[in-house]
């Protein structure tokens, strides 16, 4: 609306825009309210576990929540694991047991993930670059064969493996668990890596081949460095899944190769166990993955998003 008076405002916000700011504020409050609520839901159990590991029995019963305000933190839970400052130097059978299982879990999950990433990346690379004919199976059939393993519920394999491992003397060994875990995460690795290699242009290898590299040389020196972030993502997701695996470990191990989840589970059943030491044990079991989750979050998200965008 043109106006002759020069000191009057020419452009006005339309009423719709003026209503905007109040509406904008309510939507802001609502969005942050929901986000904070959900963050609370996600983090509170972890907070609860950490604080409980520092509580004494009366603190647990009174439901005290905030350290130094409600209760005085105390190393009770960690002392029972032999991991508190005053017991860390001394001999402790519980700690030895804990460390052994921690080591088992680490070795098993790292080697299984590594093996799965190696086997899976090679297969995914092959499937994304060459056309194969294995009998009646072509590329799409081979891909389907790999990915369909994801559907296989662990319970179907568990009992045959129990019997097989018994006759192969692989029961209760790390190797046995590593092989099985590799199998369970392999389809996921292939799923992620196929996507990765698919996004790398074939001209790169063509150039390398013209320059006289063999196909394996081209893969190792040119393609692999480019696909490395994807491999890291696949490795970390495999690591999370294998570290947390309980079902096979509970069935196939008894003393030598027991992993942390089995130790945690065996303690929950027994009545005598105290809350603070359970909390300390649970927290020690989840701590490595919390650290990985915080530091390497973008790789995890990258890996999981691989299947989402085609």
């Amino acid at each position: 609306m043109p106006n002759s008076a020069s000191n009057e405002q020419i452009f006005h916000d339309s009423p719709a825009d003026k209503g905007h700011s109040a509406k904008w504020w309510t939507s802001r409050v609502l969005i942050y309210g929901i986000l904070i609520l959900w963050a609370f839901i996600c983090l509170f159990p972890i907070y609860w576990t950490i604080t409980t590991s520092f509580k004494r029995a009366p603190d647990v019963m009174q439901g005290n929540m905030i350290p130094w305000v409600d209760f005085v933190p105390n190393w009770l839970g960690w002392r029972s694991l032999g991991l508190s400052p005053d017991t860390i130097g001394a001999e402790s059978t519980v700690r030895a047991e804990f460390m052994k299982r921690f080591l088992n879990s680490t070795i098993i999950s790292v080697s299984a993930s590594l093996l799965a990433v190696i086997l899976g990346s090679l297969a995914a690379y092959g499937l994304s670059r060459f056309s194969y004919k294995f009998g009646f199976m072509r590329n799409s059939d081979i891909s389907f064969f790999f990915l369909s393993q994801l559907i296989l519920p662990p319970v179907v394999l568990a009992l045959p493996f129990l019997v097989l491992y018994k006759s192969l003397a692989l029961l209760d060994t790390r190797i046995g668990l590593i092989l099985l875990y590799t199998l369970t995460v392999l389809p996921i690795v292939i799923w992620i890596m196929r996507d990765q290699f698919g996004s790398i242009p074939t001209e790169l290898e063509e150039a390398a081949l013209v320059d006289g590299l063999s196909i394996w040389g081209a893969f190792l020196t040119i393609i692999m460095p480019i696909a490395l972030p994807g491999m890291v993502a696949a490795f970390i997701i495999s690591l999370v899944l294998t570290w947390n695996e309980y079902f096979f470990a509970a069935l196939l191990t008894s003393t030598n190769a027991v992993t942390l989840p089995v130790m945690v589970a065996s303690q929950t059943g027994s009545q005598g166990i105290s809350w603070w030491s359970m909390a300390a044990l649970s927290f020690a079991a989840i701590l490595p993955l919390i650290v990985i989750g915080i530091i390497l979050e973008r790789f995890i998200i990258k890996g999981m998003a691989a299947g989402a965008i085609k």
Binding site: C42, L127, I151, P154, S214, P261
Partner: protein, 369 residues
């Protein structure tokens, strides 16, 4: 070939493979295969009677198999030259999966039709269809099956929550990184630790914080695991808590791939955010949503850890999943034969159900895009 395979690398190679090399390759394959047969035969012949000969178990056969696998890979290069080198990319994984899945499955079929209790000294007896007959009349197994249907249906609310959270994370917010890491956390925790942290301690009737909260809200005696419906709901909620981040991240990735222009265009055209969501965002997200839900179903069908550790199927089998039921069948009764049959039947049902679901999803998506 289907168009989904992208552009393949085409290399023309002129391989000149001498007959001697081909012969060597074939010799390697058949020679090592013969080695397996010999070792296995020795194993059967000597049995476990003479452990001092190193035949106390089937390990030697396993080693012979490994030798064969290596020879097979090597021979590919010898016989087929350049093409063999390409086969070498896929062959190790294929051999690994093949021997780790196909062999146990065939072996498992044998076990499924026999009466075999590991605790009893009798060993294995073939018993035909007795196990099937027992399964047919086993109320607990079918109860576990119905529970699985409920558990799978619980994915829909999970999906709705995950979608909502993904939309929020995709909005213009501060501290996005913090929220993303916080929301991701539950996925990193081991289900066993979660079952203690939440199931055993936070839901503890006397001092658990959630029981306290329920009491504050006016519930007199909060008991989470005494009524079947409540117990099942709690298990669903705990499983949802762990896996919502997974769906959320997949949906978030999909949301970020949608071009901004589309939603801006709808805004310019005067569509309300609600309408814009249902007519633009949601239809565009359909393929991602279906992928996320299908993968989630696959993971849900393996649900067991939480149930085993929190309720062990109780009260009265109300929370049992098929996996946890079979786990206890083995743990409590060492009943390998029957347990394997149940697992096999479960596998068949899953494969049929997933195939139908994938077909439906495929057909549903095609006419629209």
């Amino acid at each position: 070939m289907s168009s989904t395979e992208g552009d393949l690398l085409h290399i023309v190679t002129a391989d000149d493979i001498s007959p001697g090399r081909q012969k060597l390759g074939k010799f390697l394959i058949w020679g090592s295969a013969a080695l397996i047969v010999v070792v296995a035969a020795l194993q059967v012949w000597r049995g476990t009677a003479t452990p001092e000969a190193g035949f106390a178990n089937w390990r030697p056969t396993l080693y012979a198999f490994l030798v064969w696998a290596v020879c097979l890979c090597w021979a590919q290069v010898l016989i087929r030259g350049e093409y063999g080198k390409r086969v070498l990319f896929v062959l190790p994984a294929a051999l690994f999966v093949g021997c780790m899945v196909v062999f146990p499955l065939i072996f498992g079929l044998g076990i499924a039709f026999s009466d075999w209790n590991l605790a009893s000294p009798d060993g294995r007896k073939f018993n035909g269809v007795d196990n099937i007959r027992q399964m047919w009349t086993d109320p607990f197994y079918w109860n576990a099956m119905t529970n699985m249907v409920w558990y799978v249906l619980a994915i829909l609310p999970e999906y709705a929550i995950a979608f909502g959270l993904a939309l929020l994370l995709n909005a213009q917010i501060k501290a996005r990184k913090f929220f993303r890491v916080a929301f991701l956390m539950p996925l990193m925790l081991s289900p066993v630790a979660v079952s203690w942290m939440i199931g055993k301690s936070m839901l503890e009737v006397r001092f658990g914080p959630i029981s306290r909260l329920a009491r504050e809200l006016g519930v007199d005696s909060p008991a989470f695991f005494s009524s079947p419906e409540m117990a099942r709901f709690i298990i669903m909620a705990m499983d949802a808590w762990t896996f919502i981040p997974f769906m959320m991240i997949m949906i978030l990735a999909g949301l970020q791939a949608i071009p901004k222009e589309l939603s801006e265009a709808s805004k310019v055209d005067g569509a309300s955010p609600w309408r814009g969501f249902w007519e633009i965002t949601f239809p565009l997200m359909l393929p991602v949503s279906i992928t996320a839900i299908l993968i989630r179903i696959i993971f849900k069908l393996k649900l067991a850890d939480i149930i085993i550790n929190v309720t062990s199927g109780g009260p009265g089998g109300a929370t049992d999943s098929v996996t946890s039921f079979i786990f206890r069948e083995y743990r409590d009764r060492s009943n390998v034969g029957y347990g394997t049959l149940l697992a096999m039947v479960y596998l068949v049902i899953i494969v049929i159900a997933m195939t139908i679901l994938m077909k439906i999803a495929d057909r549903w998506m095609r006419p629209k895009f």
